[in-house]
Structures are given as structure tokens and as C-alpha cells.
Amino acid sequence: MERLNPNSRRDAYGSKINRDHSLALVYGIPWLTIMLGSLTPLLPIIAPAPVFPPLGYIMLLGWRLSRPGLLPMWAGLPLGLVDDLFSGQPLGCGVLLFSLTMIGLELLEARFPWRNFWQDWLLACILVPIYLVVAALLSGTGFALSQLYLLIPQILLSLVAFPIVVSLVSVLDRLRLRRFKPMFR
């Protein structure tokens, strides 16, 4: 009887049979990377003014827009809480804004289910400035409307950061959906 070449079902990673996603990666990576984004205050940058993009929020937007349905709608609560613990904002600001963003995106998703990257970026260009302005006004100090010009550099940096974050998300998504043999699962 003719036999198959024993290497025909093998590739660089071993047997091609019986490989599957790792649940820890599939569901862990989005949560973990968004929380890592919220840790930016621990970067060794002592900023004299708000300059650094809110990476936690942009990461959330990136995952939510490029992988709809992956994060549950209530994800804004825990992720916002983690963000609040480090961001310097009064606790609850991130919880509120992250939750509202999740609800808003869900409603938008129902109306515009098919979007391309440019529309996602446009959406981020609307959401991120709103997030930054509202967060500044809720920051619990005398941050007056007349001081909002201070946020302009940060807003611009954030808008530029969005495509970078999205491409990072797509790289992470490939890692997330890697298939492993059962022993690594």
C-alpha cells in the first residue's frame, strides 16, 4: 500500500494536525495590552504639561474597532478602573468615559457595520479629542475652558498615534490567533 510521506503533514512548527488557538492568548492579549497602555504614567517621562497620548484609551479604540465583538460591552468598567489607578485623573473618570465609549461604539456598529481603516481613524479623530477634553474638565482642578489650548499638542499626537496603535493591534492579533499543539494550549 502506498504511504504518504511522513513529513507531508509537518511544517516548521511541527505537526499541522490538531493545532488550535490558545484560549489564554485569544482572550488575554486584548485585555492585557489595553492595561499595559494604561501604564504609560510609569514611563520615565516627567512631563511639564499633558503631552503623552492616552495609550490605554487609544488601545481600547484600536481593539474595539478592529475586532468588534471581542471585548464585551462592559469591558469599559474594569479597563477604565485600571486606567484611573495610574492616570492621575479622579477615580471614576476612566470608568465613565470608557463605558460610554463602549456603548457609543456598539450603537455605531449597529448603524455602520462595515467600515474601513480611514473611517475608523476618522472616528478616533472625533472620540479622542472628546475624551481628552472631558477628562481635563473632570480632572478636579480649576482647569478652565480657556486653558484647553494646552491639550492641542496632546490631541494631535494622539491622532497620529492611532494608526500606529492599530498596526500594533494587528500584529498582536496575529499573535493572538496563533495555533498551538495541545500541550501548549
Partner: protein
């Protein structure tokens, strides 16, 4: 292009899908409501969740400290990048030394004057301040409108809320929350920060308030003819009992109607190591109505939460 959500049906008669969607809307709305409640509590009592925050900062401090160790000699985000293009690192070092020397000179003048005055009044001389702890700034809230920094020393090192934090160049801020191994410092540029100051050369007293953009607003207490000039150095006056007198704070860069705009001298981004000092007159601060944990530096005109 990512496919739209397929798990949940938008329309149709699938009761289970409709219910699932409804439940997740309810959950998300509850999250938002909880956010509003938490926000209200923390706006009314800023110190309410300090324990939770300190715990989180303590847990992640090793990450920050590793990063802070690399931040030697760099000044801030942009200058750090520019440093790669300008090979004049030697020049920058000399410049920094010169700046420190300049500030030191003015501080010494201020101290000499302070000494003279105190001797005259009390017959006492100001002794050197014994630092509580020497630590690194391991990070700051660089994406928020608030200006906090994280310090790599906490209660274990004797740091307590209210203690002033200084750098060789001048005052940096004061501790507002202390965890076991990290603490949170309210930087001078935060809009909540108010420091009583006086001009180094004479006794023109003022308040230095943060403006959230890296500069300070110097508000004169005695209104009248504005005696300030560009280049004037302001040092802490010691009023309120929290900050030791004679520590450099700001240099006037622009004159306004009721005072001036000052540039921060103790730029926290330029310093690698900072010193935590004890509260100058503890009993005086404690005698104030608010506990030390509240962010009120003594006799502030509009102290929050009073």
C-alpha cells in the same frame, strides 16, 4: 476590514440574541453609572481612593524604577530626543552646572538674608535640613491634565503626605499620597498646587500657583504698583509652615497685571534624584483645620474642601 459582530443579531426574532444584547447594554450602562458615582465621590473627597491607588503604584513600581534609572541627564521628552541629534552632551552638562550654580547663588543670598532676619527676630540661625529620603521620580501622569509624579520612596522610608520634595535646582512639589514603597507627588505646575513665596532679594510676598503648562502664575498678595521684573527669582517664604523658607521656586519670565508668570526652576524632568524633606513646622500645619493628607498648603486663599 474587520467583519462586523456576528455573535449578536441586530434584528429578527431570535429572542436569545435580543436578550443577550439587551443584557450587555444594561451591564455597560451600569458601568457608566458606577463611573459617575465613583467620580462624584473622588471629586468631593480627593483622598478617598488613595489606598487603592498607592497599592497599584506599589505593585508596578519596579517597572517605573527600571525606566527611571535610564533617565539620567535627559531633561524632558523632546529634549531627550533632541539630545541624540546634538552631540553636545558635554555642553548640556556644563549648562546644567551653570544653572545650578546660578540658582545656588540666589538661594545663598536669600538664605543669608533670611538668616539675618531670623537672627534679628529670634536670635536663632536656621540649621541644615535633615532629608527624610532620597529617591527617584519614576514617572508622571503625562497623559492627564493633572500633574502628579510617582516617587520611589514611601512610608517604609519615612515619607508622609505633606512633605516637600526638592531637587538641587529648587522645589519640585509635595507628597500627597504615600504608599509603602512609592508615593505620589503633586508637582508645582498642577493647578491645585499653591506655594507661598517671596522675592529672593526682598520681601515681596506672593503665591505661586500651577498653570498646568509647565509655568507658574505668581500672584502678588499686596496689590498696587507691580514691582516685579523679568528675571526675578522667587523662593519659598515658609508661610503656612509646610515648605522650608529659602528654597528656589521660579524665575519671572513675563509680567502680568496682578503679578507675573514664572518659569519653574526645579524642573522635575531635569532631575534624576530628588530629596524628600520633613514638613517645616509640623504643629503649625497640623493646627490648620484640614488634616495633612488633604492637599491644602496652609493658608491658601481658596483651599479645596473647606
Amino acid at each position: 476590514m474587520a467583519p462586523p459582530t456576528t455573535k449578536q443579531q441586530r434584528s429578527g426574532s431570535n429572542k436569545k440574541a435580543q436578550l443577550g444584547l439587551f443584557t450587555s447594554y444594561v451591564a455597560a450602562t451600569l458601568g457608566a453609572v458606577l463611573g459617575v458615582l465613583l467620580l462624584a465621590v473622588s471629586l468631593m473627597r480627593p483622598e478617598a481612593f488613595s489606598g487603592l491607588r498607592s497599592m497599584a503604584a506599589d505593585a508596578t513600581a519596579p517597572v517605573g524604577e527600571a525606566g527611571a534609572a535610564t533617565r539620567v541627564g535627559t531633561r524632558n521628552f523632546f529634549e531627550a530626543i533632541a539630545g541624540y541629534y546634538e552631540a553636545g552632551s558635554r555642553n548640556a552638562e556644563l549648562e546644567e552646572e551653570l544653572a545650578i550654580a546660578r540658582v545656588r547663588l540666589v538661594e545663598a543670598e536669600a538664605l543669608a538674608q533670611e538668616n539675618q532676619r531670623l537672627r534679628g527676630v529670634l536670635g536663632l540661625t536656621e540649621s541644615d535640613v535633615e532629608p527624610v529620603a532620597v529617591a527617584r521620580l519614576i514617572g508622571s501622569t503625562s497623559s492627564s491634565a493633572r500633574r502628579y509624579a510617582y516617587l520611589s520612596a514611601g512610608r517604609r522610608d519615612g515619607v508622609e503626605p505633606g512633605m516637600p520634595v526638592t531637587s538641587p535646582m529648587g522645589l519640585v512639589g509635595r507628597v500627597v499620597e504615600a504608599g509603602s514603597s512609592t508615593s505620589r507627588v503633586l508637582l508645582l505646575t498642577d493647578t491645585d498646587s499653591i506655594v507661598p513665596v517671596r522675592r529672593a532679594t526682598d520681601n515681596v510676598v506672593a503665591f505661586a500657583e500651577g498653570r498646568a503648562d509647565g509655568s507658574l502664575r505668581i500672584r502678588l498678595i499686596n496689590l498696587g504698583v507691580n514691582p516685579l521684573e523679568v528675571g526675578d527669582i522667587f523662593v519659598t517664604s515658609g508661610a503656612g509652615g509646610m515648605f522650608h523658607p529659602g528654597v528656589a521656586v521660579a524665575m519671572v519670565s513675563e509680567i502680568t497685571d496682578d503679578g507675573a508668570v514664572g518659569q519653574l526652576l526645579g524642573n522635575p524632568a531635569a532631575t534624576d534624584v530628588v530629596v524628600v524633606q520633613p514638613i517645616w513646622q509640623r504643629q503649625l500645619v497640623e493646627a490648620a483645620a484640614e488634616p495633612v493628607t488633604a492637599p491644602t498648603p496652609g493658608p491658601t486663599p481658596e483651599a479645596p474642601g473647606e
